[in-house]
C-alpha cells in the first residue's frame, strides 16, 4: 500500500488531507510540524510526503531540505502545500528539493489529481 506522510500544523487541513487520502486507499501518517515530520520520516519509509510550508518549529522548506539529505528520501516525491502561488515561493521549494506544490485552497478532487502526478 502506498504510504504517505502528511505534515501540517493545522488540524483541520491535516485531517482533511489524511481523510481524503485514506478514502482513496492510501495509508497515511500525520505530523504536526517539521520536527515531528522529520522524526516520523526517519522512523519509516514513505512513498510520498505532503507538507505545509508555514509551520512552527521547522517549516516545510527546512523539512524538505532535511529529507533530501536522507538516503531513503532521495527520490521520494515531496509536495508542498502553499497559499502563496508566487514564483519565488515555488523557487524556494524547488531549491530545497520539493517535487511540486499544491496551491491552497484545494479540494479533495484536486488533491487526488495532483497526487496521481507523483505516485504510480
Amino acid at each position: 500500500m502506498t504510504k504517505i506522510l502528511v505534515v501540517d500544523d493545522s488540524n483541520s487541513i491535516r485531517d482533511m488531507v489524511s481523510f481524503t487520502l485514506k478514502s482513496a486507499g492510501f495509508e497515511t501518517t500525520e505530523a504536526k510540524d517539521g520536527v515531528e515530520g522529520l522524526n516520523k520520516a526517519k522512523a519509516g519509509n514513505y512513498d510520498l510526503v505532503i507538507s505545509d510550508i508555514n509551520m512552527p518549529n521547522m517549516d516545510g522548506i527546512a523539512l524538505c531540505t532535511e529529507l533530501r539529505k536522507l538516503p531513503s528520501f532521495k527520490f521520494t516525491p515531496i509536495l508542498m502545500l502553499t497559499t502563496e502561488s508566487s514564483p519565488e515561493m515555488k523557487m524556494r521549494g524547488k531549491t530545497a528539493g520539493a517535487t511540486g506544490w499544491l496551491v491552497k485552497p484545494f479540494n479533495p478532487e484536486k488533491l487526488l489529481a495532483t497526487i496521481k502526478r507523483v505516485v504510480r
Binding site: D9, S10, N11, S12, I13, D15, M16, F19, T20, S23, A24, D52, N54, M55, P56, K74, F75, T76, P77, I78, L81, T83, S85, M91, K94, G97, A98, T99, G100, W101, V103, K104, P105, F106, N107, P108, E109, K110, L112, K116, R117, V118, V119, R120
Partner: protein, 699 residues
C-alpha cells in the same frame, strides 16, 4: 469519489478561534519587537486563510489575505510596525472573528465594520480598489478551446530531474489524460556506460499529443519541472475556428472508431456535470453541518496524556477484575485476605479512574483569562489610565462548564477594577504611587475549590461613600453600625452603584448583583477586601466542578443529608446562654456579633427526628446570600466528595434540595440547597405570621 468536507469544519473553526486568540495576545505583546512573534502572528493568519479557502469561507479568505499581506510586509522588514498598525491589526482580528463566527452560525454580521476595516487595510497597504486580485480557487471551468489540435512537445529533462521526486512516466500519463499521446524516446544524450550514474536521467522525449487542451494546460503538466528541463511546445495544425463543432463531431466519430480515445473522451464529457452535482451536494451538506454546529453543546479537546492515563487505569481495572473473578470461581475462606486486598485494589482503581475522568473536563483557566490582556488594553485607551495587567496561575484547571459561566462575571470585575479601582495617572502621582496602575488576576486551588482573585492597587473602596449611598437608597438604617465586610457586601445589592457618573465601562449599576448571582448559581461565593489608598481585592471561590461537591454528611432521624462544604461557616453545639426565642416562634442563636436564626431540618422537611430541642443540639452554621442560619441536625457524620445526580431527570425539582447522590452503601442521600432552604423557612415564617394576623383580626 466525493469527500464530505463539512466534517472538518468544526475542527477548522476551533483552530481558527485559537489562532485568533494567539494573534490577539501576540499583538498585545508586540512592543518587544520580536521577529518570532510577528512570525507566529503571520502563521496564524496564514493558516486561517488557507483553511477558510479550503472549506469555502471566501469572505474570510479575502479579508484575511489583506491582513496577511500587511503582516508579510512587517515580517519581511518592508514596513516598520507602528502603534497604529497594531491597533488596525487588532481590529482586523475582531473582524476575522466576526466573519468566522458568522460562518459558524450561518448568521449575518456587521458588514459596515468589515468594509471599513477592509478599506483601512487597503489604505495602509496602498492598494487601490477592491481586493479583486485575490485568488479564489478557480474550478477547471476554463472556456473550451476549439478541439482537435496536434501538439508537438520536445522534452529534454536535466539529468538530476528524478532526484526531485518527479517521474517522467507520470508526466506522460497526465498528458495522456488530455488526449491521445504518442511518444518517442531519444537516447542521443546517453553517456558512455562507465560514466553513467544510476540516479540520473539521460533520456529525452519527442511527444505528440492530439488534444483540445491549450498550451497552458500542457505547460501546467510540466509546471513542477519547468526549471529542470528544456521544453518546447509547438502547435502543428490549427483547425479552423468556424468549424469547431464539426471537428468535435469528427472527433466523436473517430472516438467511436478508436476505443481507447472513446474512453478518455466520454470520461471528459461526463466528468463536468458530475462534479457540478457533487459540489452542490457539498454545499447542502455544509449548510446542514452549520446548523449542527450551532446546536452542538461543544466539543472538548483532551490532551493525549489524559487519555493515556485513562487507558492505563482501565488496564489496571481489568486486571483487578479478572483477579477477583478468578478468586470467586473457587473461593475458600482461607483466601479471604486475598479477596480483601483485591477489593482494596478495586477501590484504589475506581478512585483513580474517577479522578482521571473528572480531569477530562478540566481545562486551564487561561481559556478564561486570555481575553483580559485585550480588554485591559482597550479599556486603558478608553479611560486614558495606564494599566499593567499581571496574570498568574493560568495553568490552574477548572471544569469546562464552570469556566464558560465564569467568563462574564470576571469581565465585569476587571472592568470594575479599571473603572472604579485604578485612579487617574495624575491622582496616582499626586499620591506618590507609580504612574501606571496594576491589576492582578490570580488563580489557585484551595481544597476542592478554585480561588480567582481580581486585585488592583487603586484607591480602595470608599467605605463612607458606600455607606451613605446605601443609606440614601434605604438599604441600611442610618444608625446602623456595620463591619467593613458588611459595608462591602452592599456593593452586591441590586441597584447599587457608587460611580458618580454612569460610565460606559462598568455600566449602570446593574452588574455587581448579577455577578454575585452568577457566582452563586455556580455554587461559589465572592468576598471583597479593600484598604483605602492601597487597593481592593475581589476573591471568587468556586467549586472545581459542577459534577462533584465536597459535602458534610449529617443525620436527621433516619435520613442522611449532605450539606455542601462551601456553604458551611462552622459547626457547633448550642449553648443555652446564646439561645434566644424571639417573636414567639423563632429561635436565634448568638454567634459572636450575629444573631443566627435556627432552622430545624426536621420541621422544614416534616420528618421524625431525635433532637427537637435547640439546647445542646448540633448546629451547622451555613451562609447563603450573606444570610447565616443554623441548621439543627441529629448527628454530624463524615465529610466526603459526592457525585451530584439530578432529581429532575426522573422526578422533579424539590424545594430545598439541589440534587441527590449515591453513598458508599448504595443508598441515596439528598443534597441540601442552602439558599433554597433559607427561602423556604422565610416563606413559612411569613405564612405563619399572616395566619396570626388573620387570627388576631378574627378575635
Amino acid at each position: 469519489m466525493s469527500i464530505d468536507l463539512s466534517q472538518f469544519i468544526p475542527s477548522f473553526l476551533e483552530e481558527s478561534f485559537e489562532g485568533l486568540e494567539l494573534m490577539e495576545s501576540s499583538l498585545l505583546n508586540l512592543d518587544a519587537g520580536d521577529n518570532e512573534i510577528i512570525n507566529s502572528i503571520f502563521r496564524a493568519a496564514h493558516s486561517i486563510k488557507g483553511g477558510a479557502g479550503t472549506f469555502g469561507f471566501d469572505n474570510v479568505t479575502e479579508f484575511t489575505h489583506l491582513v496577511e499581506t500587511l503582516l508579510d510586509e512587517i515580517r519581511d522588514g518592508r514596513r516598520d510596525i507602528t502603534a497604529k498598525d497594531t491597533e488596525l491589526l487588532l481590529v482586523s482580528v475582531d473582524c476575522m472573528r466576526l466573519l468566522i463566527e458568522a460562518a459558524r452560525d450561518d448568521a449575518d454580521y456587521d458588514q459596515d465594520k468589515i468594509t471599513e476595516t477592509t478599506h483601512l487595510l487597503e489604505q495602509t497597504l496602498e492598494i487601490d480598489g477592491p481586493a479583486s486580485h485575490i485568488e479564489i480557487a478557480k474550478s477547471d471551468e476554463d472556456t473550451q478551446e476549439p478541439a482537435g489540435k496536434i501538439w508537438h512537445i520536445t522534452f529534454i529533462p536535466e539529468h538530476h530531474l528524478v532526484q526531485t521526486g518527479n517521474d517522467p512516466l507520470l508526466l506522460f500519463s497526465a498528458l495522456a489524460d488530455l488526449g491521445e499521446l504518442t511518444l518517442k524516446a531519444k537516447t542521443d544524450l546517453l553517456p558512455a556506460i562507465t560514466e553513467m550514474d544510476a540516479t540520473e536521467l539521460y533520456i529525452s522525449w519527442e511527444l505528440s499529443l492530439i488534444s483540445d487542451a491549450s498550451e497552458e494546460d500542457i505547460r501546467e503538466v510540466f509546471e513542477w519541472v519547468e526549471d529542470e528541463c528544456k521544453l518546447e511546445i509547438v502547435e502543428l495544425e490549427v483547425s479552423p475556428k468556424s468549424s469547431s463543432s464539426e471537428t468535435q463531431d469528427s472527433l466523436r466519430n473517430s472516438a467511436s472508431v478508436d476505443p481507447e480515445i472513446s474512453d478518455s473522451q466520454t470520461a471528459l464529457v461526463t466528468e463536468q456535470p458530475a462534479s457540478a452535482i457533487q459540489s452542490s451536494e457539498k454545499i447542502e451538506k455544509i449548510e446542514k453541518n452549520k446548523t449542527k454546529t450551532k446546536q452542538d453543546s461543544g466539543s472538548i479537546r483532551v490532551g493525549v496524556d489524559k487519555v493515556d492515563s485513562l487507558i492505563n487505569l482501565m488496564g489496571e481495572l481489568v486486571i483487578t477484575q479478572s483477579m477477583l473473578s478468578e478468586l470467586g470461581n473457587d473461593f475458600e475462606i482461607s483466601k479471604l485476605e486475598k479477596l480483601k486486598s483485591g477489593l482494596d485494589q478495586l477501590l484504589q482503581n475506581t478512585k483513580e479512574l474517577q479522578e482521571s475522568v473528572m480531569k477530562i473536563r478540566m481545562l486551564p483557566i487561561s481559556f478564561a483569562f486570555n481575553r483580559f490582556p485585550r480588554l485591559v488594553h482597550d479599556l486603558s485607551i478608553k479611560t486614558g489610565k495606564e494599566i499593567n495587567l499581571v496574570i498568574r496561575g493560568e495553568q490552574t484547571e477548572l471544569d469546562k462548564t464552570v469556566m464558560e459561566q465564569i467568563g462574564d462575571p470576571l469581565v465585569h470585575l476587571v472592568r470594575n477594577a479599571v473603572d472604579h479601582g485604578i485612579e487617574s495617572s495624575d491622582m496616582r502621582i499626586a499620591n506618590g504611587k507609580p504612574k501606571s496602575g496594576t491589576i492582578t488576576l490570580d488563580a489557585y486551588h484551595q481544597g476542592g475549590n478554585i480561588i480567582i482573585e481580581i486585585s488592583d492597587d487603586g484607591g480602595g473602596i470608599n467605605r463612607e461613600a458606600v455607606l451613605s449611598k446605601a443609606i440614601e437608597k434605604g438599604l441600611v438604617d442610618s444608625g446602623a453600625t456595620l463591619s467593613d465586610s458588611q459595608v462591602f457586601d452592599l456593593l452586591f445589592e441590586p441597584g447599587f452603584s457608587t460611580a458618580k457618573e454612569i460610565s460606559d465601562i462598568s455600566g449602570r449599576g446593574v452588574g455587581m448583583d448579577v455577578v454575585k448571582r452568577n457566582i452563586q448559581s455556580l455554587g461559589g461565593r465572592i468576598q471583597v477586601e479593600s484598604q483605602p489608598g492601597i487597593g481592593s481585592k475581589f476573591k471568587v471561590n468556586l467549586p472545581l466542578t459542577l459534577a462533584i461537591l465536597d459535602g458534610q454528611l449529617v443525620r436527621v432521624g433516619t435520613e442522611v443529608y449532605i450539606i455542601p462544604l462551601i456553604t458551611i461557616v462552622e459547626s457547633l453545639q448550642a449553648k443555652e446562654e446564646f439561645i434566644n426565642k424571639v417573636s414567639g416562634d423563632m429561635t436565634l442563636y448568638r454567634l459572636r456579633d450575629d444573631n443566627v436564626p435556627v432552622i430545624p431540618i426536621y420541621q422544614l422537611f416534616d420528618l421524625p427526628a431525635d433532637t427537637k430541642e435547640v439546647n445542646n443540639a448540633l448546629l451547622v452554621v451555613v451562609e447563603a446570600d450573606g444570610q447565616k442560619v443554623g441548621l439543627l441536625v441529629d448527628d454530624l457524620l463524615a465529610q466526603q466528595q459526592v457525585v451530584i445526580k439530578s432529581l429532575k431527570d426522573n422526578y422533579q425539582q424539590v424545594e430545598g434540595i439541589s440534587g441527590a447522590t449515591i453513598l458508599g452503601d448504595g443508598s441515596v442521600a439528598m443534597i441540601l440547597d442552602v439558599p433554597g432552604m433559607i427561602e423556604m423557612a422565610m416563606k413559612r415564617a411569613q405564612e405563619k405570621q399572616n395566619e396570626h394576623i388573620l387570627e388576631g383580626a378574627l378575635v
